[in-house]
């Protein structure tokens, strides 16, 4: 491959460090690609050409001056719009934050800036990260580069589509119930949800505080691991951040790329194979082919039972909306963002009410109502309280499983990218997209999705779930699986027609 945009982040970083390419050349190539194809894909809500090129020029000056640079210096990155960026519009794809310019940076953005990655812009998503198709963006739909009649997954459809369409070599996503992994699976990209608390949430617009986790989106595991290490580590501004060494994910990805999984024991979750929870046949076929390859690489496969996983989805739809109903209370038109109906005649209460009515989309309202109900007097024990108990059982299932195996595997999502509108009419059908990814969030451990094959010409992802702070094993298995692909699956996406 000759084009800059076809190179992996690791290759680009080496080219920049060693003077074969400048960061300005690299960044310009991706900005030009955005200009060429994002009119079709619509992955970006905001592109910051000047800011990205300014950082790139700094990197080039530093290279010229012989300065020591970080492993991804000069390689551009796209950031999901739920992450707060100083001076760059940040809306979480909601009308209620239209025009808001944050006065501060999220911790992970500070780290990206310190590591000198040019920031290309902000990517589209389901409003407040609530959805599995990016159809709930208040601004526009993002198209799947593999088939523009289909969804790119969600909530981080913009980040996944940007990477899949080679508009960015790297992107940041956030994962509350699968929002990094499921878009990764349906766009043929790599996505990692790190251990909860491994990456700071400071500056992440909160959806569900006990579940939200930021992580990398890339075309392969090594690139994801490199970005993972840039953003990871303890943050005193996030009380839920873990004060422990960052798992050695880059080392693990390099080890996995050697194609040796001997001595690694992987568990297949029995419950995911049964009844209504089973994936569609094409997904199962690709996934099982993946398992065979893992066996060929030396991995041992055993079946593991996690009986509480069956309840993960309903549990999630009590806990996440409960926390969201409270987290989203601050959008009231008083201090920032949209203010509706303030004509000097209406009361403060009416203005707050009208602002929320006008500013939130239907899925956000649905979840606020659901969460408000689940927490209300007389219901809280039966709903929120019970859900917390089930959450504990799910954690115990994982802990028991990891006494037997190093990691669990499953399809990332039960079905390939669906067509626009196919599941918006029935929220439950949409929620099913996260059936296999939600348990990991409930537990707090790491999970990655790596492309494993195709079904009906669309990508299928394999999920690797690890124990808390065992992110390295998930990268190792993913990288090993990639090593069996002659051409990286992410590189086989059809060429996008620009408009």
């Amino acid at each position: 491959m000759s084009r800059i945009i076809d190179k992996t982040a690791a290759e680009l970083a080496a080219d920049i460090r060693e003077g074969r390419l400048t960061s300005v050349e690299v960044t310009t190539a991706f900005l030009d690609r955005i200009a060429a194809v994002d009119g079709t894909v619509k992955a970006f809500l905001h592109v910051d050409r000047d800011g990205a090129l300014a950082t790139a020029a700094e990197v080039d000056a530093a290279v010229a001056a012989g300065e020591e640079l970080g492993p991804l210096a000069g390689v551009p990155v796209a950031i999901k719009d739920v992450v707060v960026t100083k001076g760059l519009p940040t809306t979480a794809a909601s009308k209620i934050l239209e025009g808001w310019i944050p006065p501060y940076d999220a911790t992970i953005v500070e780290r990206i800036k310190a590591a000198k990655l040019p920031i290309l812009g902000k990517t589209n998503m389901d409003e407040f990260a609530m959805g599995s198709s990016t159809e709930y963006s208040a601004y526009f739909k993002t198209l799947n580069p593999w088939d523009t009649g289909r969804i790119p997954g969600g909530s981080g459809g913009g980040s996944a589509a940007a990477v899949a369409a080679k508009m960015a070599p790297l992107a940041i996503g956030t994962d509350t119930g699968g929002s990094i992994r499921q878009p990764g699976a349906v766009t043929g990209t790599f996505g990692a949800k790190p251990t909860y608390g491994g990456n700071s949430r400071y500056g992440l617009i909160a959806f569900s505080s006990s579940l939200d986790t930021p992580g990398p989106v890339s075309r392969n595991a090594l690139d994801g691991a490199l970005l993972h290490e840039v953003i990871s580590g303890h943050d005193p501004r996030d009380s839920t951040s873990i004060d422990a060494p960052v798992p050695p994910v880059v080392e693990a990805a390099r080890l996995g790329a050697t194609g040796d999984l001997s001595g690694v024991k992987l568990g297949v979750v029995k419950e995911f194979k049964e009844g209504a929870d089973a994936a569609e046949p094409g997904v199962i076929a690709a996934y099982e082919a993946g398992i065979e390859q893992l066996v060929e690489l030396g991995a041992e496969i055993v079946e593991v039972s996690c009986p509480s996983f069956t309840y993960a989805l309903p549990t999630y739809y009590l806990i996440a909306p409960s926390e969201a109903s409270s987290n989203l209370a601050r959008y009231d038109g008083v201090r920032y963002g949209l203010r509706a109906g303030d004509d000097g005649k209406k009361s403060l209460e009416e203005v707050m009410s009208l602002t929320r009515e006008a500013g939130f989309g239907p899925e956000v309202k649905r979840r606020i109502i659901l969460g408000t109900y689940a927490l209300s007097a007389g219901y809280v024990d039966a709903f929120y309280g019970k859900a917390q108990k089930v959450r504990t059982l799910i954690k115990q299932d994982f802990e028991r499983a990891f006494e037997q195996v190093d990691a669990l595997i499953s399809p990332t999502t039960p079905f390939i990218a669906f067509e626009f509108g196919a599941r918006t009419g029935d929220p439950y059908q949409m929620y099913l997209a996260d059936l296999y990814t939600i348990p990991t969030n409930m537990y707090g451990g790491p999970g990655v999705s790596v492309p494993v094959g195709l079904s009906e010409g669309m990508p299928v992802g394999l999920q690797v779930m690890g124990p808390v702070l065992g992110d390295d094993i998930t990268y190792r298995v993913a990288a090993a699986l990639e090593s069996t692909q002659d051409v990286l699956l992410a590189d086989t996406a059809p060429e996008i027609e620009g408009i």
Binding site: P102, Y104, R237, S239, V334, M352, V380
Partner: protein, 495 residues
Amino acid sequence: MTKLNTFEQAVATYEPVLGLETHIELDTATKMFCGCSTAFGAEPNTQVCPVCLALPGALPVANRAAVEATIKIGLALNCTIASWTRFARKNYFYPDMPKNFQTSQYEEPLCENGYVEVVVEGEVHRVEIERVHLEEDTGKTLHVGGTTGRIHGATESLVDYNRAGIPLVEIVTKPVPGTGALAPEVARAYTAELRDIVRSLGVSDVRMEQGSLRCDVNLSLNRPGEEWGTRTETKNVNSLRSVERAVRYEVRRQSALLDAGERIFQETRHFHEATGETSPGRSKEEATDYRYFPEPDLAVMEPSREWVEELRASLPELPRKRRERLQAAWSLGDKEMQSVVNADAVDLIEATVAAGSSPAGAVKWWLGELSRRANESGEELTALAITPAQVAELQGMVDDGRLNDKLARQVIDGVLAGEGSPAEVAAARGLEVVSDTGALEAAVEEAIAANPAVADKIRGGTHAAAGVLIGAVMKATKGQADAATVRQIILDKLS
């Protein structure tokens, strides 16, 4: 509206049950969940950041100094300190609360099950503490337009978030029955004791006038032997005197309603400083469902036993101990000391003695003349425009014979009117004891001549009769004579 009963009528028929919820702002250098300053009186919205403005994405981090202060308060109130405790979200919409939820504590408070003992009219009342928990303060809203100054009817609302996020400790008593007619005094004494305890710990300046100690007063009435009645909650009662008045008013109001066969509504009420009355706020029936749940943004706290014991060992002398020490040092009887405490004059007298006054002199002024002045003007004793140093100076002038009590009272007038220090007032007003014995002897001769019968009595040994002649001399000298000197001259002349 029903006519109020007198307080005496009310407590003759009903037994009050008290409950007090007190909020105390801690004087930590920084706010509860961010690094912003807590200094009082800054320009609006200058002590704010993404966290306390609840900007999207911002997260709280608990202030360890505030947790430590709360544990100290709990220990001083004889509470059990939790070994596992966490914050909870209290959800409700209000513009002065940036997140539209308050980070507070719900089922797992930091401290529980303590007590405070207060003495009122020689009786010890034990007030049980249910819980002491940590939370954050709200901002301040100014509602412009409308007639009430409240959110309803306002045309514009201005919010200052400097106070938002300042650590707030809430101390909740269990219901306090059995105080009878002393309910107002017990409520006041409890609040004063709590304030003194917190002040002694050095964790808050507890300035009621600045709102750093705020009280909600719960009160219900029942007939003897019957179940407790429905309680009202009177919010934001912000001085010791107001606490007493609010209880007194609610007793009178509720008893009149009950007498008339009406029912008491469970409601929050507002206290009006000007009239001493309460008026209804929003009723509990239509109150918000707070939808409490554990705060997922903050880690659980597990104060170690070692830490708690370390804090216990570091507690300073508590007010009760201190009062015992001062009582002995000042040679006061129990009753006298109790009067000092009830008048909220311990600190004032201690400072006056420290400034050089005799304890007896300091007690006399603060409990006598100055308490009377405070009552007349409806002020707290501490709010009077005279300092302990000035009282010490005044007493010094009396000790030196430069002022007598009557003149000293006139000097107080001047000091309270802002005319300067006692010496300056005495000089400016020409208030000085006449010590020219020549002039006094002449006045005594005149008085003897005018009262021959009295003079004879004194000559006969009835020295007590000298008072009449002293009075006459004082009148003649317009009070500027020293009574003791006059008496000595009279006795010298007539024996």
